[in-house]
């Protein structure tokens, strides 16, 4: 049973310092403190400005293609034989994932702040593609930082970004994955802070990013809540979403946090299995610390060094997690679990074959847990899963794992 949260407490997070209880904050070099304060001021002003909201809503409707459907996965639910599962179809958005909701919003902020250049970090490449896309549309210069290892395993998305006019910068420092891409993006920002807007792709990073990204992504949860009421006459019994940095999860969860009857599950990447230590599940098996501008649960060793993560999905291969998730874990409102590589791949195949919907490998982690959860529930109950992205980008990875040469 999950614990209840007072609605005023939920609405008060983060506080003026950007903290969610003990988590969050602004742990960055002094050079960036002014830029963060400026962003906070501009965002607080624009978020109350009806013209800005109208512009954002207009772009979400006509450029992204919102609202995304809430789709009942009948064959898959029948096969499992438990609760009915509904998929929030973020894979149908322009560029194929939920990431675009946030980049559209942050790019509008960049435009209002008069910044001609945007930068982004990316893991699976979805956020990089979404940023390159909106940069092309607004005529902004765009540099995307990507771990050299991810450049290899996500070559299709790398080429997509290049076609869109972005410069993709492979990062070879550290473990050459998402965390190192974020380090490098921070270094670029500290150097070019005058003319550059850093479009962070998840609810991680220093305040105000976890708040801004959450607010832009909450459109998913608001829609899903209204769609559930319209389609089933009531709220879902449970929500499930995968958690890397955690933006698709917080965007779905947040509008439901005060609905006490709705159980909420965040699914981390179990990699080779939590017991092996080779995973990317800081909430399930990490401890609090400071990385990338905020205090949150981390994968770290006994000396406070950040450890390498392992996941079949590049988008979940991150040693930290958004600070609001850390808070939600400690309060008990959200239950964090994990699905390992094998479980995620199995769910990927099952949903593809029963529904004709090919999910991203990140999303497949949420689907894997949803199967277990649904099986423990009754057909009168419903689950909403965030189908956060489509799986085209992962076809080569899946083929390789299945031993197929394309």
């Amino acid at each position: 049973m999950t614990s209840k949260l007072d609605s005023r407490l939920i609405a008060s997070m983060p506080d003026a310092q950007g903290r969610f209880g003990d988590y969050g904050g602004k742990f960055v070099s002094e050079t960036l403190m002014h830029a963060l304060a400026e962003l906070d001021d501009v965002y607080r002003m624009l978020s109350k400005d009806p013209d800005f909201q109208r512009e954002f809503d207009h772009d979400l409707a006509h450029y992204v293609g919102r609202p995304s459907p809430l789709y009942e996965a009948r064959r898959w639910s029948d096969m499992i034989g438990g609760a009915r599962i509904y998929l929030k179809r973020e894979d149908l958005n322009h560029t194929g994932a939920h990431k675009i909701n946030n980049t559209v919003g942050q790019a509008l902020l960049a435009k209002h702040m008069g910044k001609p250049r945007v930068i982004a970090e990316t893991g699976a490449g979805q956020h990089g593609v979404a940023t390159a896309t909106i940069a092309a549309r607004l005529g902004l210069e765009c540099h995307v930082f990507m771990g050299a290892e991810d450049v290899q395993r996500q070559s299709l998305n790398v080429y997509r970004m290049k076609l869109l006019g972005a410069t993709v910068v492979p990062v070879t420092s550290g473990s050459s994955t998402l965390k190192d891409a974020m380090n490098e993006a921070m270094r670029d920002w500290v150097t070019n802070v005058d003319n550059t807007f850093y479009i962070i792709g998840s609810v991680a990073g220093p305040h105000p990013y976890p708040m801004i990204v959450r607010d832009f992504q909450c459109v998913m949860g608001r829609e899903a809540r209204a769609q559930s009421l319209a389609q089933t006459g009531r709220l879902p019994d449970a929500l499930v979403a995968c958690v890397g940095g955690g933006s698709n999860a917080i965007g779905l969860f947040h509008p439901f946090l005060q609905d006490d009857a709705v159980e909420i599950y965040g699914v981390e990447a179990g990699g080779h299995g939590i017991g092996t230590g080779r995973h990317a599940a800081p909430l399930s098996a990490g401890s609090p610390g400071v990385l990338h501008g905020n205090r949150t649960y981390l994968m770290q060793d006994e000396d406070g060094q950040i450890t390498e993560t392992h996941s079949v999905s590049a988008g979940l291969d991150y040693p930290g997690v958004g600070p609001e998730h850390s808070w939600l874990k400690d309060t008990g409102r959200v239950t964090y679990v994990s699905a390992d590589d094998t479980e995620a791949l199995a769910a990927f195949h099952r949903v593809t074959r029963t529904e004709g919907i090919m999910p991203a490998l990140e999303t497949a982690h949420a689907l894997a847990y949803a199967e277990k959860l649904a099986a423990s529930m009754t057909p009168e109950q419903t689950i909403v899963v965030n189908l956060s992205g489509r799986g085209d980008k992962d076809i080569l990875t899946v083929a390789k794992i299945d031993g197929i040469e394309l």
Partner: protein
Amino acid sequence: MSRIAQRFADLSAAGRKALITYVVAGDPTPGLTVPLLHALVDAGADVIEVGVPFSDPMSEGPVIQRGHERALKNRVRLRDVLSMVSEFREKDPDTPLLLMGYANPVEHMGYPAFADAAVKAGVDGLLTVDVPPEEVERVNRELKRVGMDNIFLIAPTTPEARLHLITDQASGFIYYVSLKGVTGAGNLDIDDVSDHVSRIRLCTELPVCVGFGIKDAASAAAVARVADGVVVGSALVSLVADVIAGGGEPAEAMAAAASLLGEIRSGIDARSVTDAL
């Protein structure tokens, strides 16, 4: 009076400017660190900054990033760094020494445990790059308890309104970051540095030292004209690493570092003489 404050007071009385050197503990080899620190002091360093290796050194340029990576590969951790400081203190009880690094290793050890262990080892101050005054309360409480200084960065982007927020929490000295960017980057604009240093002096009596982008005697001398001290980091780190990577002996690396530092020292001191005339 702390060792850091004492050293700046002595330098000020002698009309000299401080030379502060930065190396990463355990880079390029753990055995080289303590002898290198002594060599730097012999070559004219007034204050020693020791970098604590971290897996994600967000504010460092490529040169010092590689230094952190080499040190971690050598399995040098915060506890090892403190042991190195203890060893350094056996022969050098006077030179002020501060640790420079990132929040997480210190936070993971626990601020009270860190403060006790660091002061016992002979550490005089801490500079945590990713802990601005807004986040410093937990660490400062412990540093004050054991009498360690907390050194803060001020950047070219720091607005007027933040200066007091920083100087109110700071002790030891102020570290002015001479440019927007990472360590080891770009070229200095001395007039710009001078303006900012003057602005900081209106807020604090603490010495103001300047780092980032100081590579040689000329740039060090120019900065020493407007500040109380200069910090040399990337130039030393790359020099030592290059000698060792090229198959050189530790003694050669130390000699090369001492030679560079000697030139920088002369540049700074020549400046003092010129100004005195």
